[in-house]
Amino acid sequence: LFGGKTLDTNALEQIEETLITADIGPAISYDLIEKLRTKNIGNIEDAIIYLKNELKNYIFDGDIGIEKGQLNVLLVLGVNGVGKTTSIAKISNYYLQKGFKILLAAGDTFRAAAVEQLTKWSQRLDIPIIRQHDGADPASVVFDAIDSAKAKGVDLLIIDTAGRLHTKVNLMDELRKIEKIIKSKGDFNKKNLLVIDGTTGQNAFIQAESFNNAVGINGIMITKYDALSKGGIVFTIQKKLKIPFYFIGTGEKIENIEEFNKDSFIEKIFS
């Protein structure tokens, strides 16, 4: 009667499975499926083209805004085991290639051998590192690191922090304290980078929201993209929080880092 065709139940189920399995979440997936139902689309190929375009409305590319010739401070934070320390090594290498003078701060004074881990990376990259004894106050390490960064005329200071669950009030207070210290040391270019694990499900949104509420997040890096999880939580995060994704971690080696690109990210959802 209307001349158009619609997808059959089977096709819609397949599409829903693709969206959900990509960790896009039921809310956005259902919205997309409902929109799809109202269109005259008779086959899966056209449906996917439609969905790819719809998804482009949810996410955006963003520039990290880090320029040489001035002090930039990157505070790296996130929950336990997501890849913060490894990502710092990758980001350092990335900016070394661009001729940046870099300083690292071993702000994780809590976890066993966290300082040793970042130190090993700093040695591999031949980058100086500010560190104190285990159990030192992270705020004190940060304080010293910024003084040192200014004194040495560093372009980029990257601060590693201990993994912390956003549900732990005392740990989030510690983070707020670190944030306050950084702010009190001057008005240089500062970015808070949240690291999320690409294999994490819907909780990644709650993480982003919590850390953003606590200290503000300027950008996000999603790691372990090579595990073949699609990281679909990006759509919810960008739709609701409007936070740019700067980088993607694609492996355990120093060169396994890419700039976030929304088009290729969307392509991969359906590949």
Partner: protein
């Protein structure tokens, strides 16, 4: 959460009003969304909804005095049934011989920390003499980390040549026997389930030392791919148990249901903090309630 939304669905069903197929269908749709929001894998959700639909539409609920409670009970009990298992303890030999535990899983899931927790648990509850074995030769300072964990717990750490994980495991077991340890806990490097070489490595370690327990350590916040990941580890290794870490977060933990449903190996413990005592026995009832939200 789901209890509130189910209350809404059934709130017009009071007194002699009969619960209908229509409102049960709506309730099942709500449960489906709740489970997906909780990160339960979609294929697992579909199976679950299909298996409860029959029961929900059956005599028990439609004729029940309090159909809503009956319905919620069916859902909850079905979840617990899948999650639960009769064998949740570590199956170790007697202390007059050597028992071997091996941990494996994705990068950052909490293996090294869990190795310390298990060591602490066995030391304090069974007075076992434990040797930690450092088979992660890749991650910078991984061996340093296990050494520090060992010293926190008060157990020795075997590091061997720090180069060949299979050799280290083999030598570690030899060392344990010579020095009258009764338990060896092998920490392995984080690896992707799709990394053929690394999966082959962990399989070789397992074949070399033949662990009594092969524990798959997974992050409780894992999303839809928990199924793929667990499946592959279970194919490559004869997993004897699962440990879900970081349950002290506010993740709903649907990965627990997905993993148990798909590989049907007992979830033995959950990680509940970063500390060496941050491990506890897995209680299906509690986790079922949490997944439903």
């Amino acid at each position: 959460g789901i209890t509130k939304s189910l209350t809404d669905v059934f709130k017009n069903v009071t007194g002699n009003a009969k619960i209908t197929e229509k409102n049960i269908t709506k309730a099942l749709a709500d449960i489906r969304i709740a489970l997906l929001e909780a990160d339960v894998n979609i294929a697992v959700v579909r199976n679950f909804i299909n298996s409860v639909t029959e029961e929900a539409l059956g005599e028990k609920v439609l004729r029940s005095v309090s159909p809503q409670e009956q319905f919620i009970k069916i859902i909850h009990d079905k979840l617990v049934e899948v999650l639960g298992s009769s064998s949740q303890e570590l199956k170790l030999k007697t202390k007059d011989t050597l028992s071997i535990i091996m941990l494996a899983g994705l990068q950052g899931s909490g293996k090294t920390t869990t190795a310390g927790k298990i060591a602490n648990m066995l030391k304090t509850t069974q007075q076992r003499k434990i040797l930690l074995c450092a088979c992660d030769v890749y991650r910078p300072a991984a061996i340093d980390q296990l050494i520090k964990v060992g010293s926190l717990v008060g157990v020795e750490v075997f590091t061997g040549d720090k180069k060949d994980p299979i050799k280290i495991a083999k030598e570690g077991v030899k060392f344990a026997k010579l020095n009258t340890f009764d338990t060896v806990i092998i920490d392995t490097a984080g690896r992707l389930h799709i990394d053929k070489d690394m999966m082959e490595e962990v399989q070789k370690i397992s074949k070399e030392v033949k662990p009594d327990e092969i524990l798959f350590v997974a992050d409780s916040m894992t999303g839809q791919h928990a199924v793929e990941i667990a499946k592959e580890f279970n194919t490559v290794l004869e997993i004897s148990g699962v440990i879900l870490t970081k349950f002290d977060s506010d993740t709903r933990g649907g990965a627990a249901f997905s993993i148990k449903q798909i590989i049907n190996k007992p979830i033995k413990f959950i990680g509940i903090s970063e500390k060496i005592d941050g491990i506890e026995v897995f209680y299906p009832e509690r986790i079922a309630t949490r997944i439903l939200g």
